[in-house]
Symmetry: C2
Subunit: 459 residues, 2 copies
Amino acid sequence: MYEDSAAFKTLGARYGNRFSRSPALRAQHGGGETHHAIAAPDAVLFAENTEEVAEAVRLCAAEDIPVIAFGAGTSLEGHLAATKGGLSLDLTRMRKILRVSPADLDCTVEAGVTREDLNAYLRDQGLFFPVDPGANATLGGMAATRASGTNAVRYGTMRENVLSLTVVLANGDVIRTASRARKSAAGYDLTRLFVGSEGTLGIITEVTLRLHGIPEAAAAATCRFPDLVSAAEAAIAVIQYGVPIARVELMEKRLVDYTNAFSGLTLEGGDTLVFEFHGSGQSVEDQVATVKDIVADFGGTAFTWATTPEERSRLWKARHDAFYAVLAARAGSKGWATDICVPISELAASVALARDLVEKAGATAAILGHVGDGNFHVMFAVDPDDADELARVRSINAELIHHAIAVGGTSTGEHGIGSGKIDYMREEFGDAGLALMRAIKTAVDPKGIFNPGKILPSA
Amino acid sequence: MYEDSAAFKTLGARYGNRFSRSPALRAQHGGGETHHAIAAPDAVLFAENTEEVAEAVRLCAAEDIPVIAFGAGTSLEGHLAATKGGLSLDLTRMRKILRVSPADLDCTVEAGVTREDLNAYLRDQGLFFPVDPGANATLGGMAATRASGTNAVRYGTMRENVLSLTVVLANGDVIRTASRARKSAAGYDLTRLFVGSEGTLGIITEVTLRLHGIPEAAAAATCRFPDLVSAAEAAIAVIQYGVPIARVELMEKRLVDYTNAFSGLTLEGGDTLVFEFHGSGQSVEDQVATVKDIVADFGGTAFTWATTPEERSRLWKARHDAFYAVLAARAGSKGWATDICVPISELAASVALARDLVEKAGATAAILGHVGDGNFHVMFAVDPDDADELARVRSINAELIHHAIAVGGTSTGEHGIGSGKIDYMREEFGDAGLALMRAIKTAVDPKGIFNPGKILPSA
């Protein structure tokens, strides 16, 4: 489609091989990392700055051509499928770190900078950016998905760590959503309007972020539990006690085995919590002592330390690669990751429900999660060509989402809605809430050019 | 106006003396605590639940009658003026604490509950809600203004501490903006859409809040500095060092004198920082030792402790009453409080500019602020009938706002825009940003019934 559009002709003439209609490139830009079907865009533009993005949006808007932002391509819920064709705006060449202010603990980066690149750049200055989804995603994509990760329990998600955004609107206007001030009571919260909007309201081209000082002391430890629910209950107790834990991650015993195999770790077997403690030396010691007392009440044993930066990095790299470790356990499989988040008092029962559903279905899957936030995943390794199996996983996914919403939680803690969870939006927000979201979408993107078919179900 | 409307007739018949057109009551509902002119609404309805609010909104919307939510009436920027008349929806009878979950560290309250009432209720459970504007505001009003206070540097503002809202929309629909989950990537951030919307997008009737455990140990101290800029620089250094300080407040020497007089304190004179430390006993001791080292570099002396809960309460009550202390220094005056917030690296220069402007103008005023966030106020005690004096203060206010925006800050850290700062919105957000806010306003409140004349300047 759109090959005869004035927009594509202009972009092709202006940008040469930065504008491409190659089928392989288009297919690569039309899917993420999971089982969701690929829907290729009609062309890909590698934009290099905000003005180029604005110009492309203006050209596409004039002919109602869909525009879909593309970063690292690590979406898990079908965000990138060009369900109505159109232009994929690849932002990965926008990878300049524009400004770092150690005095203000903030920075501004182009949308295509990845979290690992940013942290490599910051390390020498004693700073880090904490939000860490499993993938090495771009910061623009992380903002658009309201991403989170293992550090959120202490440092917050993209919701809390984005200070301001530069956004290209549907009419080609470029706005800055907020100042660099830590807080503001000035007007509508445009920053949070775009954080989590999944490319459906505008194209994020620059991101201003809060940074944090690398803690004076840090320590990580794994701890084994007699069963999954005991591990979850121990994590809940740590949070309820008020320990300012930096990370507390649940790994089901199957995942421990998969991860040992995939990442060459030598974790002891069994359902496991992985802790990280940040603070002054004394504060870390205090936290560790408290946590050791708490976990003992839940049968936690084999507290094993990763104290050197290298050991800690290796442990967390393995944790971040958990998704790939599950896939590696079943050759030729595709991933399907559920993502519910519940009030923490409901976590143990929710994890138990997930385990029962997975065992009953005999699925290749593992439970893991950012349990300090009440957020956990079931990572399924599915045969994408087995319709029966997909239906079984879909049914487990649906049951977990119904459960999460019923107990005061959400269908997605951090992966987003995309197309994968669009059918649960009504259940979570009701007709009136959905109507409000639709009104906002229509007001901000009247022609519906931005990432159509995502977040909002058909009316 | 509107006395013959079907809406007012129906409300009068249905609610008896809960619907009032008394001139005194109307005037009291048309102003806040500062110099801004009162504009009385045409009637006041004391609503008792969400359904009554929804019914009143439906009736008013049918005849395009403005609706203005009213809580404690402690607005500082003219939010409550009924510039086009209409109905004041008084929510102060909605003061039920609906639910507290210590296990999840959250609660749900009706919009008319005040922050002090909530904290009195929570104390026995070892919990507290940290956001503390000077006034004993309602939690609905605090959400609507995106309020903040002395604890924000450690615990965040209403932006971070509201989990979910119940909101009545312009068509009378009632929505819940989000679940109780700590984080979510589901759809547009409706919660943050209403936090800070100042009653212009809907009426908040219930608020679900994050709570925090009362820290194991807490200590507060005052420390005197040779001058205002040294005090500001010491605060900056404490933040930049990464001390997890709970509060760090700047009080100009004049304010120390006013506060001693108004609140019966016996603080030593001079430009002062007030610190509070929260944590485990050891952690508090570590923080104190670090801060003592840092402040000594800036000439800080006379570190004076308030260790008992009673002494701490007295100190912070006096700090919260600073606005009234300044007013008491000049009989018959009205308050005018500026509220800029800048990146912390710009704080010392901004405070110095404010001091110079105030001294040059010979105004009765004092500088104070939540300097850990880069947010500070100049509290002016003005003669509301002296046009020349008001013009001088307006000019200082404008100069500070221009400065704040120029250095990457905002016109208001926590007081909101109301009508008082509406003329600076274009400077802060640009034409495109304002146009986006207008599009949102029109989409969510198509007839413009909610709190007209606030936030958005005339096009």
